[in-house]
């Protein structure tokens, strides 16, 4: 059974997340910064009346920041009772991925990606990385307390 995935780009690389985990997509205008939150938290956004934290994928992946453009998107994911946005460079595609297309990431990639990449899919000439959304948005508490 192939399942629908949302594909997004961060610093030229392509990532995918199961569409079933995505609540909606929002264009990004601004987020309200939260002092004391982890550095990869861009801030707060209002989505369908809920106030949700937005994780900056670039900061999370250790990539240099860029100016946000009209292409910038927030992929709003639902994870149990949590709703968290992921700020990405662009997101304009959905694709079906079959289980047999998915390969475990090579050990070096897995290590380098801090477990953010769950699997890698070969789609024609493209390589799409399936992310572990719960890892990316992080379980870390905002403060060490």
């Amino acid at each position: 059974m192939s399942t629908l995935h949302v594909v997004f780009k961060v610093a030229g690389a392509e990532y995918a997340i199961p569409a079933s985990e995505v609540m909606q997509m929002e264009s990004f205008t601004s987020a309200t910064p939260v002092p004391g939150a982890p550095t990869h938290v861009a801030g707060l956004m209002q989505v369908r009346g809920r106030v949700v934290p937005v994780v900056d994928a670039r900061a999370r992946f250790g990539l240099p920041p860029v100016d946000r453009t009209l292409d910038s998107r927030v992929v709003v994911g639902q994870l149990g009772s949590r709703t968290v946005g992921l700020l990405v460079d662009s997101a304009r595609e959905v694709m079906k991925l079959a289980p047999e297309q998915l390969q475990p990431p090579p050990p070096m990639v897995a290590e380098q990606a801090q477990g953010f990449v769950k699997a890698v899919a070969q789609v024609g000439p493209r390589l799409v990385m399936l992310i572990d959304f719960s890892r990316v948005i992080g379980e870390e508490k905002a403060h060490g307390g």
Binding site: S30, T32, P33, V34, P35, G36, A37, P38, V41, L44, M45, Q46, R48, G49, R50, V51, V52, P53, V55, S81, R82, T83, V84, I137, G138, E139, E140, K141, A142, H143, G145
Partner: protein
């Protein structure tokens, strides 16, 4: 079909008595102002509003004498408002008498006595106030004159004429409808009896006068029905089978018609048109100011914090090997007691949904009159309860949905009959607690359903594929589903406001289910409680923030009088003088990890107590003080010390609500964090 007014009388009386006592005080204040020749526009408006609400409520319970008196008092106040909030001293006495006359009639209602007519002499004097205000001599007698052919005029008693005039004064139209009976009509089931019955749904029939004489259809009898109504001519005509029936106004055209209520409402002075219905319902048991309950809640929060400290101290003792089993037991018990106490305080703020909605039948009754549609309200709300703050915010949304349902969704009786539905439409309001924290409320009708294609065409977008998309479309600001705004909903708020209230303000959910020809259901899921905070809104380093008023004191910062003690750290803390005491002054942007791009601290500062000592936080600009809905941040990513939550100030962007003492403590350079999550013990 008819609403039993006896059910509403107690609520009506409570409300009007309260409004009257307020009106008395306001009029006295205006008298004082008039003597001192000073203007008091605010009091004029408040008094206007009180009278306008009295008028609206009285019209709903059919007490025309009160309606007329309130109407003329209201008109005089409108002129006072136009005169910059000055009520002439000479106007005070007639106005006082007006209030007395209303009070007297309210008492008559309360005791079940017959309500006496409005004293003509008083009405004339009040009317004259209006005339002088306008700058032309007051007309004697009534403002509107009836235009009736003599044959008809002689059939009307003085009280019939008075009834018509009072009706006109209250903003209704006085009409003469001629119905010509015929064999053909009778075959269609139309006789003067069925006409009476049908028209009776749409209008108040003052008198039916049979008149002999040749008719268009070749007959020799016409029934002239004298009506007071808010319904449109076409609706009335339709009810009696169209021509040869005719409808015409019986108000003398040479004199200006009394300003209809709807026009009054369009003027700047006019209160919210829903005012009479939306005005929060007062409990008849014990009235406690909500702020007192908030105060209790705040004290409880302090108790919770000290319990957490106690728990920590006990844990340290335990870790040090001290026998603490009994202490721990007491602590557990204490935690449970605090939880119960919090629940009971929150419970005090709960109002029954049924009580909140008890004006809706009156609203429906008014809509039935103004639209000429037949509609029944079904309430199925059980014993559900809501926090007062939520209820007050939610009610305007419900009123709007109900109004929309009657106005747009329900068809006319003729249309319904043609569609094989009962002539009487149903608007149903139901609610049940969905969980311990949320309430689901539905407003449904059995009308024509939302025309998705028409709505899409109006907005110039493709037809929505799902009900979610359709709802989003309907909630676009400014979208009206009707080409011409109707009298009742036209000036009301749009669905965008319903969405703003439900989703953005209350953090709830809104959904739609509609079936063409069968009806529409709106579902609102709202939290049972919300936290309302009186807050200062301010700007710091180009961003807006809010802070609870109760937590801070504002001081001005005079840059020239700042004292900078020697400091090792770069940009060390300055000292500012407050009531003879030197208080450390910290630029707030430093704690917020932002750059101000400005030399030195901002011009205003909030003083808070931090571990017993005052500390001042400098900010750029104070933007104002307002009530905000505090939304706590649930996600661990953003649960940080010093941020109590977020709020929506109306721009769709979350604004942080700061907890300055915690923020200061967390960032004052000390490595230990003193942050105690408020939810810790009693959530």
């Amino acid at each position: 079909m008819s609403v039993d007014l006896a059910d509403f009388l107690p609520a009506y009386l409570t409300e009007v008595e309260e409004l009257l006592s307020a009106a008395n005080a306001q009029l006295l204040a205006l008298e004082t102002a008039a003597r001192q020749r000073s203007a008091s526009p605010r009091t004029v408006r408040e008094l206007f509003r009180a009278l306008h609400t009295i008028k609206g409520l009285s019209a709903m319970v059919d007490v025309e004498p009160i309606v007329s008196i309130a109407h003329w008092m209201e008109t005089a106040l409108r002129h006072a408002d136009q005169a910059g909030g000055r009520l002439p001293e000479a106007s005070v006495e007639p106005m006082m008498e007006g209030l007395r006359a209303i009070e007297q009639r309210v008492r008559q209602l309360a005791t079940g006595a017959h309500v006496s007519e409005a004293p003509r002499e008083l009405l004339e004097r009040l009317e004259a106030l209006e005339g002088t205000g306008r700058g032309h001599p007051g007309q004697q007698g009534t403002s509107a004159m009836l235009q009736l052919e003599p044959a008809l005029a002689t059939k009307l008693s003085a009280s019939d004429q008075e009834q018509l005039l009072a009706g006109i004064a209250s903003g209704r139209r006085a009409l003469r409808m001629d119905y010509v009976p015929s064999a053909e009509r009778a075959a269609q089931g139309l006789t003067i009896n069925t006409v009476r019955e049908r028209v009776g749904h749409l209008a108040e029939i003052v008198k039916v006068v049979p008149m002999a004489g040749a008719t268009p259809g070749g007959g020799n009898l016409t029934f002239a029905l004298l009506l007071l109504t808010g319904a449109e001519d076409s609706v009335l005509l339709e009810a009696v089978g169209g021509p040869p029936a005719t409808v015409q106004s019986i108000v003398e055209p040479s004199l200006p018609e009394t300003t209809p209520i709807s026009d009054l409402l369009a003027e700047p002075l006019a209160p919210n048109e829903e005012g009479a219905v939306v005005e929060p319902r007062r409990s008849n048991v014990l009235r406690v100011e909500v702020t007192r309950l908030d105060d209790a809640l705040e004290r409880l929060a302090a108790l919770v914090v000290s319990r957490s400290k106690l728990a920590r101290a006990v844990k340290e003792l335990t870790d040090a090997g001290v026998q603490t089993r009994e202490l721990v037991q007491v602590l557990h018990e204490n935690a449970r007691q605090l939880r119960d106490l919090r629940a009971s305080i929150l419970h005090l703020r709960m109002v029954r949904v049924r009580d909140v909605l008890d004006r809706l039948p009156l609203l429906i009754r008014g809509l039935r009159r103004s639209t000429g549609k037949l509609v029944r309200l079904e309430l199925d709300v059980g014993e559900a309860e809501l926090d007062k703050a939520v209820a007050d915010r939610l009610l305007p949304a419900i009123v709007h949905l109900v109004r929309n349902a009657v106005d747009h969704a329900l068809e006319s009786p003729q249309e319904r009959r043609a569609a094989g539905k009962p002539e009487e439409g149903v608007v149903r309001l139901a609610c049940h607690a969905r969980s311990s924290a949320r309430l689901e409320l539905t407003v449904s009708d059995d009308g024509r359903g939302v025309d998705a294609a028409a709505a899409a065409a109006r907005a110039g977008v493709p037809v929505p594929a799902s009900s979610t998309e359709l709802l989003e479309l309907l909630c676009r600001p400014g979208l009206s589903t009707r080409v011409s705004a109707s009298a009742t909903s036209g000036r009301g708020m749009g669905m965008d406001i319903v969405k703003r209230i439900t989703v953005d303000q209350l953090g709830g959910e809104l959904s739609l289910d509609t079936k063409p020809g069968q009806g529409t259901t709106f579902s609102l899921g709202v939290p049972l409680t919300i936290t309302i905070v009186d807050a200062f809104v301010f700007e710091c380093a180009a961003l807006r923030y809010a802070v609870a008023v109760s937590a801070v004191e504002i001081i001005e910062v005079d840059a020239a009088s700042l004292v900078r003690p020697p400091s090792l750290a770069n940009g060390g803390v300055a000292l500012v003088e407050r009531r003879g005491q030197a208080v450390p002054l910290v630029p707030l942007e430093r704690l917020l990890q932002r750059e101000s791009g400005r030399e030195g601290p901002g011009p205003k500062a909030f003083v808070v107590r931090q571990r017993g000592t005052p500390v001042a936080f400098a900010v750029d600009k104070l933007l104002g003080q307002q009530e905000i809905v505090l939304r706590t941040l649930e996600d661990p990513l953003v649960q940080v010390p010093g941020v109590a939550g977020a709020t929506d100030l109306g721009d769709g962007q979350p604004t942080l609500v700061l907890d300055l003492p915690s923020l200061g403590a967390a960032r004052s350079g000390a490595s230990r964090m003193e942050y105690v999550p408020q939810k810790g013990g009693v959530a």
